[in-house]
Amino acid sequence: MDNKDNNKESNGRNSRRKKFYLSEFLAEYIIKSVSFISFAIIILIFIFVFREAIPVFFQQSKTSSSEEFLQSETYGEEESTTESATNSPEQKTENSHNLETSGAGGEATISNLTGDEWQPVSSEPKYGLLPLFVGSFNVTIVSIIIAAPLAILAAIFSTFFAPRKLKEVIKPVIELLAGFPSVVVGFFALMTIASLCQQLFGYTYRLNAFIGGLALSLAVIPIIYTVTEDALSAIPKYFTEASYALGATKWQTAFKVVVPAATPGIFAALLLGVGRAFGETMIVLMATGNAAQMTFNIFNPVRTMSATIGAEMAEVVFGDVHYGVLFLIGALLFIFTFTLNAIAEFYVRNKLMKKFGGD
């Protein structure tokens, strides 16, 4: 009897609990569905950036309407080029060039998109993305070449050589650098670094790919530093201890044991740095001179993909070809950084997992 009663009681408790489980169930599923939002945002970005970009490929040239807003757009173009008087001679040569080679303009055909001229606001609009890509490429390369050695060395220094007290200063200071808004870095490059470097190196154009890359490296250093530092300190203690036990010195341990073991992490740091540099807008918008030209001379002004969106989007007409092409550039940027992030994540996870087993 007693047992039965007990059973009943526990059954009762169970059923009471079951009622409770309803709220549990609700809580869990509400939380789960809210956490789905992050994924949904990614999907939405995909859909809505591509949605505006895709009509580009199906659009016929609407000459009558494009003539109408030509006026306002020219105004916009002027506004965005005032920041660098340097690119006006370049523009002129490009214009005369344009008159000679008046081919199939207006439409954003594949051949037009892969052309080497970016002139969205002329009577024969040209949407060649190549100069923009080359601009982004130049600036990114410069910034990585400057930032990578500095950041990696700094990470090595603060992991191995710096005394504890000093380490506690270095980390927050570099985190402080990460907290610099990019518009401030761009501003500083425009106002101070540009003039300083021109005096130092004596090149013609005050704003150019080199200045943009230099300024970008300030934004990239904290990323590379942080990820590299994480990778270095994630190496198990027994690696370093084994190395010391074999009689290796501190720098030998650092450079011959820990750094090679952390290579996947450092590689990921570089990839993330490239992603940041490629997508960064405000710095390059303010510091590269914004002349869309095909050049591999880093002391010439360039215009990057991201800066093009930033400078021209405010002046285009919704639904126009130019508008669609800008979204197309955005889509390309998104795909590029998305790929880099995916590689960084999967490559590192697989490599490190294999190396140290588990996580």
């Binding site: 970005i45 220094f157 518009v183």
Partner: protein
Amino acid sequence: MKNKIIGNAAVVVSGLATLLIIAVLVYMLTEIIINGRNYLTWEFLTQSPTEGMTAGGIFPAIVGTVLLVLIMSILGVPIGTITALYLSEYAKKNSVFTKLTRFAVNTLAGVPSIVFGLFGLGFFVQFIGGGMDKVFSAPDQVVWAQPSILWASATMAFLTIPVVIVSVEEALRSVPQDYRAAGLALGATKWQTIRKVVLPNSISGILTGTILAIGRGAGEVAPILFTGAAYFLPHLPKKLSDQFMNLGYHIYIMATQSTDVEATKGIQYATVAILLLVTFTLNFAAVTIRFRIRKKRIT
């Protein structure tokens, strides 16, 4: 002997690299403060720009930035916190959904801010705003389908969600497992334990996340370039569908499109100093709180 030389060289070279980074930072800060200090007055903070932005203060830009981060936090912090709650408390480590969410968060953190701007324009302004206009507004009247502070804040909220998630999750994980076990042992259900034990113990983490997100949101310009920031407005924003002025955007405009860059140089540096002050104070606060959390976890 040779080893010793290489060893010393390694220390010196890597030390110099570190020093260089810090030196550049210090140089930037001093340059900004020296050039802007004469303009940092009370009037500068409380007045509107006058004479075509060549004189006066930055009051509307400060108000606009504050409103932006406020609305952004209201929209973004709950989503970030709940996602972190899921990842830390409910997620099964190897389930597809968990992996997908983590991947999405990491990806989101790496999406260029200008792409968020495009997304805000395509999704919020045109799709949502356009839809709202069809339903709520009189025909041919555009209220929501244009750049506004609401859409800029929403875009910024999406941008800062990963920041919130990362720091809240860290705080949640720093709550000892014993606390959860004790809660469950006392007969509390999982949700009760989370609500009454885990969350109260990670309030500071949620605060850190919010502060970091605000610091980020206050400084970003690219996402709001075409989702709501305005060059100059005579009035402060009164409705959610109004445009607004913003500190970062103000700096960008003044530095690149002002009629007389030299004359406004001091004002520009002062504006930069204010923006830096805001973001640094926020970041510093976040770092301090986080440091205290980490300390608590160790003891």
